[in-house]
């Protein structure tokens, strides 16, 4: 009995050590970034200073914040991406409901095609799309993201439709029939009965849609052409923006030159809004993921 207890204690200890080690590897880039970005030039070149800077130095952060575009970028890009995420969520629910609840003729083949679009890379379709948006004068606006999202062709849209599909399949058919007998129209059954039940799916889809759009930079770079600035986009052009904001002529002072510290601060600032968001939504997200039944029942 006693041996068993000791065995258990040891395995538990071993488990926590593993968890902490793995957790450390996960957070390592964040820790490094934080350490590097709070160093001034002297600390950066000083081989004795590794983790902790000799004094608290925040100038890297303020300058990186300005280079990224500060609150303007944060608010504008968040606003746009919120709009896109709302559209993508609503349309995914709508489409997923159609696939899940009705036996129309082409349901199965269309659904299969929809799933297949998941492995279709953007590169195979984005050139004609670019020309299309260009000819409609939609470049430099949010439209190239908004329109595909509205029609179920946005970023990783197949997953979102699939999540709703799975969820709506779990809702018993008897509920629809009861509502139908009570005289509810098909749209009302969807919007009044199924959508309110699908809160877990909605939470998951909405958060991921928002975050994935927020982090997008490959297509955003092509479509926005600098007219709309987002944090990840500003990060890809960090050096260019930095030199514009802090020209070299003024940089006789080595403290003002572009360096690792500023770059790290920029990367970290790009992440921080998402980390804050994550702290708030994490419990809700985990709960919703459990209830959304992404692995089926």
């Amino acid at each position: 009995m006693k041996i068993k207890k000791i065995y258990r204690a040891i395995s538990r200890l071993f488990f926590y050590i593993t968890m902490i080690a793995v957790g450390f590897i996960f957070l390592y880039p964040l820790i490094i970034m934080f350490a590097e970005s709070s160093k001034d030039v002297h600390d950066l070149v000083n081989p004795l200073v590794r983790w902790l800077p000799t004094h608290i130095y925040t100038a890297n952060f303020t300058r990186a914040w300005n280079v990224l575009g500060g609150f303007d970028t944060l608010l504008i890009s968040s606003g746009y991406m919120l709009l896109v995420a709302v559209c993508q969520t609503v349309s995914s629910a709508f489409i997923g409901y159609g696939f899940a609840k009705f036996d129309f003729k082409l349901n199965k083949p269309l659904f299969l095609l929809m799933i297949c679009t998941f492995i279709l890379p953007d590169q195979v379709t984005f050139m004609p799309k670019y020309l299309m948006f260009k000819s409609f004068g939609m470049l430099k606006t949010i439209m190239p993201f908004l329109l595909p999202a509205l029609f179920g062709q946005g970023i990783k849209n197949a997953i979102f439709i699939l999540i709703y599909y799975q969820f709506f399949r779990m809702i018993p058919k008897a509920l629809d029939e009861a509502a139908e007998i009570d005289g509810a129209g098909f749209f009302r059954i969807f919007a009044g009965i199924h959508l309110p039940l699908a809160v877990p799916a909605t939470v998951v889809v909405f958060i991921f849609s928002f975050v994935w759009h927020w982090n997008e930079s490959y297509l955003a770079d092509l479509y926005f052409e600098d007219a709309i600035r987002t944090f990840p986009l500003a990060l890809t052009k960090f050096t260019e923006y930095f030199q514009k904001l802090y020209p070299v002529e003024d940089a006789g002072n080595p403290l003002l030159r572009m360096n690792e510290g500023v770059r790290m601060a920029g990367t970290l600032l790009c992440i921080i809004p998402l980390v804050i968001l994550y702290l708030f939504v994490e419990p809700k997200l985990v709960e919703s993921l459990d209830r959304a039944g992404i692995t089926g029942e």
Binding site: F104, I119, Q123, S217, L277
Partner: protein
């Protein structure tokens, strides 16, 4: 009877109504561009004042990409290494992480939050910056005795993949988020009484893992392999997609070249999907 037929007839119409936005978007934003890119890939595309001009050049774009272009000569092998080393490691690690998270010990929620954080913060430019500034590899990794032993005493074909994994440990973990989530939720759905019954029969943890856990999550291994292939291919880790974008506006290459490159890239991706289907996806028994 009459009423029922009427209902189901109406339902058919309603179903199409709900799916119609997707159908419309699919035709405009996927099917049409899909076939246009095929056409571009066999043509030389030039933009003049009057509009776009395409001339048929047979498969020259494809041969240019495969045999002539220096960028793709570098990018293609890099991408293949990612598919054959990085992707399997992500899947393996996501199984291990979900096993770790599946226990019922205190503090599980905290670790879960830490392990899923990258799902939210990962983005192309961030990964790029981490890589270029060395924050994506553990510092002083080269000084570990294990690392030194492997790099020093094993033959190259064995040590190279192992060292690759060591060097990319952080990124491998950072790409596991969604997959771990799926495995975890599959594991939590399996009936605990199966494990208890096998324990009574004297099965060890090791046997339980191979005989119970792996079979129950097997369909999800395939699913996650596909997800990882797609995720890694479309991320900033893959040098090809950046080359494609650059080729678009390159006067010498243009849309034709870029489309051919996209198609070659898509075929490699499909091949990887096919291989993982043959390995993992076929119905058992």
């Amino acid at each position: 009877m009459e009423k029922k037929r009427k209902l189901s007839g109406r339902k058919r119409w309603v179903g199409l109504f709900f799916v119609s936005p997707w159908l419309l978007g699919f035709i405009v934003f996927t099917v049409y561009p899909f076939f246009s890119t095929i056409r571009y890939s066999f043509s030389r595309v030039r933009f003049k004042l009057a509009g776009m001009e395409t001339t048929f050049v047979n498969i020259r774009n494809f041969t240019d990409v495969l045999f002539k272009d220096p960028d793709f000569k570098l990018a293609l092998p890099q991408y293949l290494v990612q598919l054959f080393l990085f992707v399997p490691m992500v899947v393996v690690f996501s199984i291990l992480l979900s096993l770790l998270l599946n226990g019922r010990l205190k503090g599980q929620g905290f670790f879960r939050a830490v392990f899923f954080l990258p799902v939210i913060v990962i983005s192309g430019p961030v990964v790029k910056n981490l890589q270029t500034m060395g924050a994506a590899t553990l510092r002083g990794m080269g000084d570990f005795p294990v690392y030194r032993f492997i790099s020093g005493s094993l033959p190259d074909f064995l040590s190279a993949p192992v060292l690759y994994i060591f060097d990319n440990a952080i990124l491998i973990l950072w790409y596991t988020g969604v997959q771990t989530l799926i495995f975890l939720s599959a594991m939590q759905k399996t009936d605990r009484s199966i494990y208890e019954a096998s324990m009574v029969d004297g099965a060890s943890g090791w046997q339980q893992f191979w005989k119970i856990t792996i079979p129950t999550i097997k369909p999800f291994i395939f699913l996650n392999a596909i997800y990882t292939i797609v995720d890694v291919s479309m991320s900033a880790m893959n040098p090809i997609i950046m080359d494609i974008k650059q080729a678009m506006f390159d006067i010498k290459k243009g849309f034709g070249f870029a489309s051919a490159a996209s198609w070659i890239y898509f075929f490699i991706l499909l091949l990887a999907v096919l291989i993982s289907y043959l390995l993992l996806g076929r119905e058992r028994r």
